[in-house]
C-alpha cells in the first residue's frame, strides 16, 4: 500500500488553496498535517477523500488514481460527526455497521460508549458526540484514515484512547493523515507543515 501525491494542487470554491504538495506514505506511515488556520489542511484531506477540486498534479493509492475507488479506500472523519440526533448512540452505529460493515460491539467499546448507548444523540455533550463520530474508526476497515482535528472536544482519557487506536492501526499497516493544532500522545513518523500559502514549508 502506498499513498503518494505528486505536485498536488487543490482549489476550494474555485480559488487555488493548496499548491504543489508532494508526499509519499507507505503502510504503517502516519503523517501529521499542521499549519496555521486557513493554510489548507481541511482542503487537502477532503481532496484526498474525493470531495475536492484537484486542479493539478497527481494523487495515487497504489495504482488507483484519484477515482471513486481511491475515495472508497479512505475513511474521512471531518469536522462533522455524521450523527443523527433522533437516533440513539447504538442506532447510529448500527446504521454505519450495516452500511459499511464492521462490528457494533467493538465500536461501542472503543470509546467506552456502552453506558450511553441508549441515549438519543441530541442529548450528548460536544465531546460525547465526537466520540460517537470517532467510533467509526473501530468499525470500518479501510486502508487510509483521514482525520481532521479528531481530538476536538475530547477529554484527556478519550484523547489517549484515540492515540492508542491510531497507534494500533499503524502497527497493523494502515496509512493515516491527521490534521491537528495540538500534538497527540503518540508521535507520527511523518510531518507535513503547510505555510500560509498552502505550500509545504
Amino acid at each position: 500500500m502506498k499513498l503518494s501525491a505528486d505536485k498536488l494542487c487543490c482549489a476550494r470554491g474555485g480559488r487555488p488553496v493548496v499548491s504543489e504538495l508532494s508526499f509519499s506514505l507507505s503502510s504503517g506511515d502516519g503523517m501529521m498535517l499542521s499549519g496555521p488556520n486557513g493554510s489548507g489542511k481541511t482542503t487537502l484531506l477532503r481532496a484526498i477523500a474525493g470531495f475536492g477540486e484537484i486542479t493539478g498534479g497527481e494523487l495515487h493509492l497504489d495504482s488507483l488514481k484519484d477515482t471513486d475507488e481511491l475515495s472508497q479506500a479512505c475513511l474521512y472523519i471531518g469536522h462533522h460527526n455524521a450523527i443523527k440526533p433522533q437516533l440513539s448512540v447504538q442506532e447510529n452505529i448500527d446504521f454505519w455497521a450495516s452500511f459499511g460493515g464492521g462490528d457494533v460491539a467493538a465500536a461501542l467499546a472503543s470509546f467506552s460508549l456502552e453506558p450511553i448507548k441508549d441515549v438519543p444523540a441530541s442529548m450528548l455533550s460536544a465531546g460525547q458526540r465526537r466520540r460517537v463520530g470517532l467510533s467509526r474508526l473501530a468499525l470500518a476497515k479501510r486502508p487510509v484514515w483521514l482525520l481532521d482535528e479528531p481530538a476536538t472536544s475530547l477529554d484527556k482519557a478519550s484523547t489517549k484512547t484515540l492515540s492508542q487506536l491510531m497507534q494500533s492501526y499503524l502497527d497493523e499497516g494502515g496509512i493515516l493523515i491527521a490534521a491537528s493544532h495540538t500534538d497527540f500522545d503518540i508521535t507520527l513518523n511523518k510531518n507535513l507543515v503547510l505555510g500560509d500559502q498552502g505550500t509545504a514549508l
Partner: protein, 241 residues
C-alpha cells in the same frame, strides 16, 4: 481559472466579429420590419393585427432556441468541461428569458383581438409560461450559489433536466388540440403560408437570431471579464491566513 487560452482567444475573436454582426442585425431588422409592416398583405380574417406575428413568432422561436442552446452548452460543459460552454449557458439564460417574456407579451397583445382575452390557459401558452419559470429557476441557481464551478455544474444539470419542456411546448398544440395556431412553417409537406408573408417572417427570424448572437457575445464578454476580476480580487486576498 483563466489559465486557459480559450477565453482570451474568444475575446479577440468576438471583438472582430461584433461590429459586423451588429451591422447585419440592424440591416435584417430593417428589411424584415419593412416587409412585415408594408409589403405583406393584411390577413383576410385578422386584418392588420396579423402584423404582430412578425414580432411574436420569432420571439417564440428564439425563446425555445435559446433554451435548447443553453441545454446543449450545458451538456458540453458537463461532458467536456469546456470553460466557455459554462459562460455561454449562463449568458444565454437572461436573453432567453427576455425572448420568452416578449413572446408572452406579444402573444397576449394578439390574444385580446383574436380570442377576446389577454390570457387563456391553453396548453401552448401555459407551457411557454413554464418555460419562463424554468429560465427564472436557472438564473436563480446562478445567483444563489457563489462558487462559480459548483454553480455551473448545478445549473447545467438543471438546464438538461428542464429541456424536457421544449418538446412539450412544441407538440402541445397537437397533443391537447388547443386554441393556438399549430405549426405552419416547419411541417411535413412544406410550409402552408403564402410567400408574401413567409419571406418577411423568415427575415425577421434571421434578425432575431442575429440579435441573440450579438447579445450573447456581449454578455459572454462581460461574464469573462467579471470572472477575471473575481480571480484577480481573490488573488489579492490570497495571502490571508
Amino acid at each position: 481559472m483563466f489559465r486557459y487560452a480559450n477565453p482570451t482567444r474568444f475575446m479577440a475573436l468576438t471583438s472582430v466579429l461584433l461590429p459586423w454582426t451588429i451591422a447585419l442585425t440592424v440591416v435584417s431588422f430593417a428589411a424584415g420590419l419593412y416587409g412585415g409592416l408594408f409589403t405583406a398583405p393584411p390577413d383576410y380574417q385578422q386584418g392588420e393585427t396579423v402584423r404582430i406575428m412578425f414580432v411574436h413568432v420569432p420571439a417564440a422561436w428564439m425563446a425555445m432556441a435559446a433554451y435548447s442552446f443553453m441545454a446543449l452548452a450545458s451538456l458540453v460543459a458537463i461532458v467536456w468541461k469546456h470553460p466557455l460552454a459554462d459562460v455561454a449557458a449562463k449568458s444565454a439564460a437572461p436573453i432567453g428569458a427576455c425572448f420568452t417574456f416578449l413572446a408572452l407579451v406579444t402573444g397576449s397583445l394578439w390574444g385580446k383581438p383574436m380570442w377576446g382575452a389577454w390570457w387563456v390557459w391553453d396548453a401552448r401558452l401555459t407551457s411557454m409560461l413554464i418555460l419562463f419559470f424554468l429560465y427564472l429557476g436557472y438564473i436563480a441557481i446562478w445567483q444563489t450559489i457563489e462558487e462559480p464551478i459548483r454553480a455551473g455544474r448545478i445549473a447545467a444539470i438543471l438546464a438538461m433536466v428542464g429541456f424536457i419542456n421544449i418538446p412539450i411546448i412544441k407538440f402541445s398544440v397537437e397533443w391537447w388540440n388547443s386554441l393556438h395556431q399549430s405549426a405552419s412553417i416547419i411541417k411535413v409537406g412544406g410550409p402552408s403560408i403564402h410567400i408574401s408573408i413567409l419571406w418577411p417572417l423568415l427575415v425577421m427570424i434571421t434578425a432575431y437570431t442575429l440579435l441573440f448572437a450579438v447579445l450573447l457575445m456581449l454578455s459572454m464578454r462581460s461574464e469573462v471579464l467579471k470572472r477575471r476580476i473575481r480571480s484577480i480580487r481573490i488573488a489579492k486576498v490570497e495571502g490571508f491566513g
